[in-house]
């Protein structure tokens, strides 16, 4: 019995080997089926379903979808001013956060890449990665406590006669800028690291001032890295809905999707297409700016 099973197994293995032998196309296909399958079914498939669902409607009482084509979701999306306000607020915040993070991240990344000692570099990298080890929710709740009326920010500012921003749009900007900063620093750091120091010396030798060196050498070479980092900060802000909920009364696109998901999935799907469209536009601009070259 046992020897028969071994023979059996061996022959299956042999048959498989024979099957693949010399069939290059089949080999590649079998190798790629897993990852591509995941991409197509799990990722693109769900996006396609989302796209289709946006053209369905819902039975108001049961919340069950009615699978017949309608444009009513897009009509209310375009016609009701509140959704325009919400989309604009979300995009505006995403841009603001991106600019803020770029401005803060660049000097830090530059110091890390060009000036810090080996040890200092290691410490800074750890310092930047450390917040990523704790849960996103914990960090937002920590900020909620900090920004509270009786919180640490007001307590610290009170002696000099100032008060913190409290909850609201400013708080959202502040918290998001904090949350996504590491995602901006790391790509810029990697980009600056790749600029040879000899280029900076050459620029100096040819008589360029530090400002000219920055403008004509460093910035053009590191700009794709900044754009790459901005894709993270922009898309993360665009999709977030917990921060606005915890530190403000502002509604973002995600909040409206969330409040419609239980009873009106088609409308939620239509709303979900908005950030996708915004993101595609952003990526096209980023490509124009050269973010995907030299990667």
């Amino acid at each position: 019995m046992a020897s028969e099973a071994v023979v059996q197994r061996r022959s299956v293995g042999h048959r498989l080997a024979d099957l693949f032998h010399g069939r290059r196309r089949l080999q590649v296909g079998a190798l790629l089926a897993g990852p591509i399958g995941w991409l197509v079914i799990g990722y693109l498939g769900s996006l396609a379903l989302l796209l289709v669902a946006a053209f369905w409607s819902v039975d108001p009482l049961s919340g069950l979808t009615i699978k017949s084509f309608t444009l009513e979701n897009f009509e209310s999306l375009f016609n009701e001013p509140v959704y325009r306000d919400i989309v604009w607020r979300t995009v505006r915040t995403a841009l603001l956060v991106t600019i803020t993070d770029a401005v803060i991240a660049f000097p830090i990344a530059f110091y890390m890449a060009k000036l810090a000692s080996r040890r200092g570099k290691a410490l800074l990298v750890i310092g930047i990665l450390l917040p990523l080890w704790s849960s996103y929710l914990v960090k937002v709740y920590a900020w909620r406590t900090l920004l509270s009326a009786n919180g640490a920010i007001n307590w610290a500012l009170d002696p000099i006669g100032l008060s913190g921003p409290g909850y609201g749009t400013t708080a959202v900007w502040l918290v998001m800028s904090y949350l996504w900063l590491p995602y901006m620093i790391l790509p810029i750091y990697a980009g600056l690291e790749r600029i040879p120091n000899s280029l900076l010396s050459a620029s100096e030798d040819l008589g360029a001032s530090p400002f000219t060196t920055f403008r004509r050498v460093i910035l053009p070479l590191s700009f794709p890295a900044v754009v790459a980092g901005s894709i993270f900060t922009f898309s993360l802000t665009l999709g977030d809905y917990i921060t606005p909920r915890l530190v403000s009364n502002d509604q973002f696109i995600g909040n409206v999707i969330f409040s419609n998901i239980a009873n009106n999935q088609p409308f939620a799907a239509a709303l979900a297409l908005v950030p996708i469209v915004v993101m595609i536009a952003y990526l096209l601009v980023a490509r124009k700016l050269g973010a995907f070259e030299h990667v």
């Binding site: 196309r25 089926a33 197509v40 009482l61 009701e80 509270s148 009786n150």
Partner: protein
């Protein structure tokens, strides 16, 4: 070189094409099973006889409804092992029930009609629930648990949404919802109002209008025609600039009151007791103090419902009987801070005054509490021109802006 290895790009395209076919095949099968015609469970038969337990029970509940104190004895008695999923909102419960993985749910009145319409719950044969006989009669056969004369669940308990305020900041103690709705009064607390962040809060505005603008003719704050609905929305838009924070998680409101970010607003017993325990200077017009704001209040009355395709129906029937048994119902009511549904539970409470504090036995009190219901197009008076749930959700988005 190229010829010997085949064309990799062409191979990749072939793989992709094959996968798309597989994907479409899967999507096709999946599409068939989630049929949209499931609505209306009225033709379903309720269970006729409770048999032996299936050894397992999967529940969806509000936090605090399924706790070891009364669940462990249930498991020992019936052999049904309870696995509980807590839900944060009624919407979440409706959504979870659609998965078909659960045997039952503790649904509030703003979820029940939707579940019945979606066909995710089945009628309940109350004869198989002996303890149902002594459930308070004003909880039986209500519009949120009985549809077309068919019972869809067993009442669990009830409570009112409270007006809570910070005693140091809000003086004199308010006895009316004026403090959040009347612009003259509310503007004193500009930026300090704490308001429930759900479309069902529109009913609170409608309730306020019932006594302050009687000419609108609102009879039920959940059945609003366009004119009444618009009036409520206007009131809420007027309120919006005064709102410090909209809350939907209890934890969020607790931290806002404790941190001084808000001073007055609408709340549940749970937050009120949690804040009192923390030593925060809060007061409320709760059931336990014997009065509601003079307009009355919205509230909830929860119902245990059984899933249409429950895998463990016998265990679910055992559970529905257990949770309204005098002892267990007293335990859950005291733990959660709500009025029990079971008359005999009042003899079992640890605090002997519990039922009088929560007005459990006082039908007059409950006449002023408007339990959450699902807003429907059907106005309940033969007219079909009321605003439905999706209208409420969209209006709520526009109020917050």
């Amino acid at each position: 070189m190229r010829r010997r290895n085949g064309n990799p790009a062409r191979t990749a395209w072939l793989v992709l094409a094959g996968l798309v076919v597989v994907m479409l095949a899967i999507a096709g099968c999946g599409g068939g099973s989630d049929d949209t015609t499931g609505g209306g469970g009225s033709g379903d038969e309720a269970l006729q006889k409770v048999g032996n337990g299936e050894g397992q029970l999967n529940l969806i509940s509000w936090a605090g409804y399924v706790e070891d104190e009364w669940t462990k004895p249930f498991e020992q008695k019936t052999g049904c092992k309870v696995s509980d999923k807590e839900a944060g909102t009624s919407d979440e419960m409706v959504e979870l029930m659609k998965t078909g993985q659960y045997d039952g749910v503790s649904a509030s009145g703003n979820a029940t009609a939707r579940m019945v319409a979606a066909g995710t719950v089945a009628p309940v044969n109350t004869d198989l629930v002996p303890n149902y006989k002594t459930v308070f009669s004003d909880l039986k056969d209500q519009s949120y648990n009985t549809f077309d004369g068919v019972n869809y669940g067993i009442p669990h308990g009830r409570g009112a949404n409270l007006l809570m305020w910070n005693k140091d900041e809000v003086k004199p103690a308010p006895d009316s919802w004026d403090v959040v709705f009347d612009p003259k009064v509310a503007s004193k607390y500009k930026g300090k109002l704490s308001i429930y962040d759900e479309s069902s809060y529109i009913a609170d505005a409608a309730l306020y209008l019932m006594s302050h603008q009687p000419d609108l003719g609102i009879e039920n704050p959940y059945e609003l025609n366009q004119e009444q609905f618009d009036a409520a929305i206007d009131l809420l838009k007027e309120q919006q600039p005064n709102v410090g924070e909209y809350w939907s998680e209890a934890a969020k409101q607790i931290s806002a009151f404790a941190g001084g970010d808000v001073t007055v607003g609408t709340t549940w017993q749970y937050q009120y007791f949690a804040l009192k325990e923390e030593g925060a200077p809060v007061a409320a017009s709760p059931a336990s103090q014997g009065f509601l704001p003079k307009e009355g209040a919205t509230g909830w009355s929860d119902t245990w419902m059984i899933a249409k395709d429950a895998k463990h129906p016998n265990c679910m029937y055992e559970w529905m009987d257990w949770i309204v048994s005098p002892k267990a119902n007293a335990q859950v009511a005291e733990y959660f801070g709500e009025a029990p549904a079971q008359e005999l539970a009042c003899k079992e409470t640890a605090n002997k005054n519990f039922c009088s504090e929560y007005h459990a036995e006082d039908p007059k009190f409950w006449e002023r509490v408007y339990y959450w219901e699902t807003p429907l197009a059907d106005c309940g008076n033969g007219e079909e021109n009321c605003m439905d749930y999706n209208d409420w959700v969209k209006a709520w988005t526009s109020i917050k802006g």
